[in-house]
């Protein structure tokens, strides 16, 4: 029996995509192998680790627990699109300043959860940040730095990214 296939139409990082895919293919394999968007990672492939996270219609979801055919007619934003658009810039700078990227494997998933936190939980304390991050594993165990980075962005409020980052780096204006 040949593998069942179906056409899916999806808006990926603002670009309309139409592809025929195997129906059993999950979203991250589609992004990585068919579209060459390798920023979303596969760790456990059963929803535990969070490395595969993407935004679907603006909400953080597990790419490995979503079929490519399920996002037909929907909008998917990946780490690539959210980096290029600048939406993640402040968080990325804060992660850099706090040494919250180590091996980098979990970073794209972490940043998407972090984006959810800064969008929806402006008043989050460290305990709340940790609770919301509990679905993202960092095998370098760099959680302290990751929480620090997210907290710094929340505390910086709506200040321009550069000011808080430079403060965190202890450098003077540029």
């Amino acid at each position: 029996m040949s593998e069942a296939r179906m056409t899916t139409h999806v808006l990926v990082n603002g670009q309309a995509i139409e592809r025929e895919v195997p129906v059993r293919q999950h979203l991250v394999d589609f992004l990585r192998e068919d579209l060459g968007l390798t920023g979303s990672h596969l760790g456990c492939e059963h929803g535990v680790c969070g490395a595969c996270q993407v935004m679907i219609d603006g909400q953080v979801q597990r790419g490995c627990l979503t079929l490519a055919v399920q996002v037909d007619g929907r909008r998917v934003d990946t780490i690539e699109g959210l980096s290029d658009s600048g939406e993640l810039a402040q968080l990325q700078q804060a992660f850099l300043a706090h040494n919250a990227f180590q091996c980098g494997y979990c970073s794209s998933g972490m940043l998407l959860t972090a984006l959810h936190i800064v969008r929806h939980h402006r008043q989050a304390d460290r305990e709340t940040i940790r609770d919301l991050l509990s679905g993202n594993y960092c095998r370098c165990t760099g959680y302290q730095a990751i929480v620090d980075a997210i907290e710094s962005v929340l505390r910086a409020g709506s200040q321009p990214a550069s000011a808080s980052v430079l403060a965190a780096l202890g450098t003077k204006g540029a």
Binding site: A4, P22, V69, Q70, H116, S134
Partner: protein
């Protein structure tokens, strides 16, 4: 791992879903949020011939009062429940349970219907449904059936829903004045499946517990009512004597299994710890 091959049908109506179920029999699985089914497919613990995706249906997404109950459609996500002021006000036990369900990204996609249809023994909602005497609503080509939670959960992943029916919603009685809810669970890591959990609903008559419903989960193949412990609390104030009597009664109510997470004796002890937390919270809110 990758899922084994299957066919995929995205249905546009419940009627179409019933037709597909009729045609394909037991070899088809219903796909809603997919947050439990997809891991099983990826791990090849499940290898259905066909997935019938009901995620595109426009109905089954409402949260609405219906008489003395709150009706929640099967496709309502955990996140919708968490953000619903109506749920928080009218079914506080459910509102307390939602943050314990998995993690943020899972709550954004997973559905209440999916959880109740799967009936994982360590899941939160089945215990809430049992504690609150909820009614599960299933539909098939022959029409609708309404099943009391007490009769719905029948064993490990076993429910009273028939293979050709779909769980379309659940109705929780609206909390009465004098009702107090307590939900807690113990897991080694936040968001993991619980080692032991408790969904407790008590009805107070002044300072006295008139009626208690204590539904434990992750202690058996289905959620279990601790009837002896509940009886020990009823007619008494939530004080230390009542608590000790109820904790003693738990030993007859529960016979938890041992597994890799913890052994039977630990589970039984932890069930008593959760009961103490419930009684303490009821005392403080008295």
């Amino acid at each position: 791992m990758k899922a084994a091959d299957f066919e995929y049908v995205r249905v546009r109506s419940l009627a179409q879903a019933f037709q597909e179920l009729e045609r394909r029999g037991d070899s088809a699985r219903i796909l809603a949020g997919g947050q439990s089914l997809m891991p099983m497919l990826n791990l090849r613990l499940a290898t259905p011939d066909c997935l019938i995706d009901i995620g595109g249906l426009t109905g089954l997404r409402d949260i609405r009062p219906e008489g003395q109950a709150l009706h929640i459609g099967a496709l309502v996500t955990h996140r919708q429940l968490q953000e619903s002021e109506l749920v928080a006000r009218t079914v506080p036990l459910l509102a307390q349970a939602v943050p314990h369900v998995a993690h943020l990204a899972i709550r954004n996609a997973g559905t209440i219907g999916g959880s109740l249809a799967l009936a994982d023994p360590a899941a939160e909602y089945p215990a809430v449904a049992l504690a609150l005497e909820a009614t599960l609503v299933v539909q098939g080509a022959q029409g609708e059936r309404r099943i009391a939670a007490q009769d719905y959960f029948q064993g490990l992943y076993q429910t009273a829903r028939r293979p050709q029916e779909i769980l379309t919603g659940v109705e929780f009685p609206v909390a009465a004045d004098g009702g107090r809810a307590h939900f807690s669970e113990l897991a080694r890591r936040r968001g993991d499946f619980a080692m032991v959990g408790l969904a407790a609903q008590c009805q107070f008559d002044g300072p006295v517990i008139a009626r208690a419903r204590l539904a434990y989960f992750a202690v058996s193949d289905r959620p279990v009512l601790a009837t002896g412990a509940a009886a020990a609390l009823q007619g008494r104030r939530p004080d230390d004597d009542a608590l000790r009597a109820a904790q003693a009664a738990l030993r007859a109510d529960l016979d938890p299994a041992s597994d890799l997470q913890c052994d039977s004796a630990t589970r039984l002890h932890l069930a008593g710890v959760l009961l103490a937390r419930a009684v303490e919270q009821m005392r403080q809110s008295a």
